[in-house]
């Protein structure tokens, strides 16, 4: 096995392609995403998306943020050959909402905000609240892992070049 930092850098592109594919899936096959968790009502791009476009060895980063920001400019960046490198998502289940960020190169989760838990009033409350938080974090982690598993199964087969990429290209141009 190659050195871990070499593998990290060599395969950064997979994480960025995953985020680009995920946006495509949100736009075209949300039914599949919602089928991954019984109680999930919605899964959307939230208030931040970062894209990277490298043309003629010059790297251009575009950040679109704000609650009312449209994704038209982000789509324009894809049309110029960009990929998504970071994205903030929102997941709703029952009356609860989760918000979180995924960075393509590491697939690390950051700025994860879960529905509120009860407040710790006495020492005995800690264990219960830790377990509640665990469940709330696990929901997001399980979803991201399921989505990535699905992506990677397509990505490393002929299905990627023959079916997925042409569909993504059409979606980018639409």
């Amino acid at each position: 096995m190659l050195d871990i930092s070499i593998l990290y850098n060599r395969y950064k592109f997979l994480g960025n392609e995953f985020l680009t594919w995920l946006w495509f899936m949100i736009d075209t096959d949300k039914k599949y995403i919602l089928s991954l968790q019984k109680d999930m009502l919605s899964f959307e791009i939230n208030n931040r998306i970062v894209l990277e476009n490298s043309l003629d060895n010059i790297i251009e980063n575009i950040t679109i943020k704000g609650d009312d920001a449209g994704l038209e400019e982000a789509k324009l960046s894809l049309q110029k050959g960009g990929v998504v490198t970071e994205c903030n998502f929102s997941l709703k289940a029952a009356e609860y909402e989760w918000k979180f960020n995924i960075k393509g190169e590491s697939l690390n989760i950051s700025s994860l905000k879960t529905p509120e838990t009860a407040k710790i009033e006495k020492k005995e409350d800690v264990d219960g609240i830790v377990l509640e938080k665990y469940y709330l974090y696990e929901k997001i982690i399980t979803l991201v892992e399921s989505l990535y598993d699905h992506f990677i199964q397509i990505r490393i087969t002929n299905k990627w070049d023959k079916e997925a990429v042409p569909m993504i290209k059409n979606w980018i141009q639409s």
């Binding site: 395969y11 190169e105 590491s106 990677i152 199964q153 990505r155």
Partner: protein, 204 residues
């Protein structure tokens, strides 16, 4: 950033290997052996070690349990003395001027300058308390998974080193390649293809 914060960052790991012998006592011993020690009155700039999740400033793994539900919950603490560069410069120039006057010379050798600087840092290290940084850890032993509540590179590297020393187990950080390689959905043939794939151009 703590497990109970309103906004968290999580780095995910797979834990490679098994603990032989009694699980709880082996982990508790590892935590105890490499728990953080105070450096406030020591001429040391930085230290790291395990600390208790519930009482991170006074760790005692013999008295405090590190188990919540079926998970091991504890923290990594990195203590660092942040001595402002301007304070070092002030003491350094004062000391150098004094030394030059005493020796009636115009210059000091490189070694002399280094010794003065090291002495000043040691002197200030004894007077400045270390700032603690606490990073929570949730280890699901049965699932071989560990969540580290920080994405900071230096903190992650510290965790990986200390974890391996303490429990003789290897942490595999989950990122695009390792997640793909460890995916249960892939067959060996698929894993081979992983080594040959290259970036996709979505637009020509």
């Amino acid at each position: 950033m703590g497990l109970l914060s309103s906004s968290v960052s999580i780095t995910r790991y797979k834990v490679n290997g098994e603990i032989s012998g009694n699980l709880i006592s082996t982990i508790t011993e590892g935590l105890q052996k490499y728990s953080i020690t105070d450096i406030d009155h020591e001429p040391v700039e930085k230290t790291s070690g395990w600390t208790s999740f519930e009482n991170p400033y006074m760790p005692n793994f013999e008295k405090t349990s590190c188990i919540i539900g079926t998970y091991f919950v504890f923290s990594l603490r990195i203590d660092k003395k942040n001595i402002p560069a301007k304070i070092i410069k002030k003491f350094y120039i004062t000391e150098m001027t004094k030394k030059l006057a005493e020796s009636e010379r115009e210059h000091l050798s490189r070694n002399e300058k280094k010794t003065i600087k090291d002495n000043i840092i040691n002197f200030l290290s004894l007077r400045i308390p270390a700032a603690p940084n606490i990073y929570d850890i949730l280890w699901n032993y049965e699932n071989h998974s560990l969540w580290f509540f920080s994405n900071q590179k230096a903190a992650n590297e510290e965790l990986e080193t200390l974890f391996s020393k303490s429990f003789k187990l290897k942490l595999i950080r989950l990122f695009p390649y390792t997640m793909a390689d460890l995916s249960k959905q892939l067959r060996d043939k698929d894993r081979d293809r992983l080594t040959t794939i290259s970036p996709t151009k979505f637009m020509d």
